[in-house]
Subunit: 210 residues, 2 copies
DNA sequence: CCGGACAAGGGGATTTTTCCCCCTTTTGAC
DNA sequence: GTCAAAAGGGGGAAAAATCCCCTTGTCCGG
């Protein structure tokens, strides 16, 4: 028995070619396509069964991917959804995952990865790739540095230099012991183990511009 | 007597507004505008005098900024040229400077800086700003790291981590004393004073991708 | 064959960094 | 007013990084 797929995407050309592609994979079959979230919701509210996997586009008129996902979270919390999108917006990815989306793919992927994602969601219930882990790690880091105090941020930028901590202390008009406190506090908040770790974090987050 | 200016730029709208702007500056006067380098070359080969300052766009059809600059280096080595461009390509800037270009400005600058540049080139013969010094320092650094040995490069990438040098030595199957040599050698070649300096250099040069 | 460049390794020393304790004062929220 | 967090400061010790000066072997061009 083939796994059923429903495609929700307003881009007709893409939706159609995607359907052909999916049907060419063994074990999957597109049973419906909709132009937007509203059409899907009406279909489901009419008492129809959801598909095994829902392929959801983000950018759609009427009811976009996010709203559709929110509705599904309320009304079909177990619906497996694989999001297909053109842009890698870290914030968006995070929100979709929170709403229970099982996978997130950029539209320019290789068919092989796409097939792999379908199989992974079918078998394991979710699919994770670089796009997602990048978004998550960025989110993680963002959370981290948002809870830094002003003085810690200031110290962090000073640490991105060839000055010794003693010299940094002079620059900041502080005792070396105080900057040592900031250092230790940052090590623990940012989960780094050395000054090099601090520097790489600061550069990664754009706190220090190189 | 006004200093004469010739504009070479295929973007008509830009060339025209630039002409108006230049004419509004006291002491400067646009005497000609050309759509590409070829037109300029024909004009000069016809026996016409070159302007005091030539404003040259990089991206042009037929004969672009680089080719035009090369022709000028051969045939009018004393022609003062101020390059105007949309993109900051360090390589390009370096090449243009080598070809004898006296100044290099991005097209999104403030009129004030532009006027300042014209005056500087008129008086001192050249104009230097951040765009150029950035490109030069990049060139400097590039020269530096091109003379690093393979092993030094390898060590450099390992240094961009939270590993201690002892651990780096293990990774590289070397004695800690040997990596110490690489470290010292890099400090002197790259003119840095600490591991943080190494890391920042590597990131700046794209040797280590963050 | 000799000198120079380079990779690899080392001795011994100082400075910095890192770590784990401790403390006071100020400040803002409740 | 109280309580917690932030800012500022310390002692002492281990580990890491930095510095200067040295040897050995190899390989390559003159």
């Amino acid at each position: 028995m083939n796994k059923t797929i429903i495609i929700v995407d307003d881009h007709k050309l893409f939706a159609q070619s995607l359907q052909i592609l999916v049907n060419s994979f063994s074990g999957f079959e597109v049973v419906k396509t909709f132009k937007n979230g509203e059409e899907l919701v009406k279909y489901l509210e009419a008492g129809n069964e959801g598909p095994d996997i829902l392929l959801l586009d983000m950018r759609m008129p009427v009811m976009d991917g996010m709203s559709t996902m929110a509705w599904l979270k309320e009304n079909r919390p177990d619906q497996k959804v694989l999001t297909l999108t053109v842009d890698q917006e870290d914030e968006t990815i995070i929100k979709m995952l929170r709403l229970g989306c099982r996978g997130y793919l950029l539209k320019d992927i290789e068919p092989e990865e796409f097939e792999h994602a379908l199989n992974a969601i079918d078998r394991n219930g979710y699919y994770s790739n670089k796009t997602i882990s990048d978004a998550l790690s960025h989110e993680e880091r963002k959370k981290k540095y948002e809870e830094l105090t002003d003085r810690e941020m200031e110290f962090l930028t000073h640490a991105c230099s060839e000055l010794t901590y003693k010299q940094v202390a002079e620059e900041m008009h502080l005792s070396p012991k105080t900057v040592d406190n900031y250092r230790e506090s940052l090590f623990s908040k940012l989960q780094v183990k050395s000054r090099v770790g601090l520097v790489m974090f600061a550069i990664k987050e754009g706190i220090f511009k190189i």
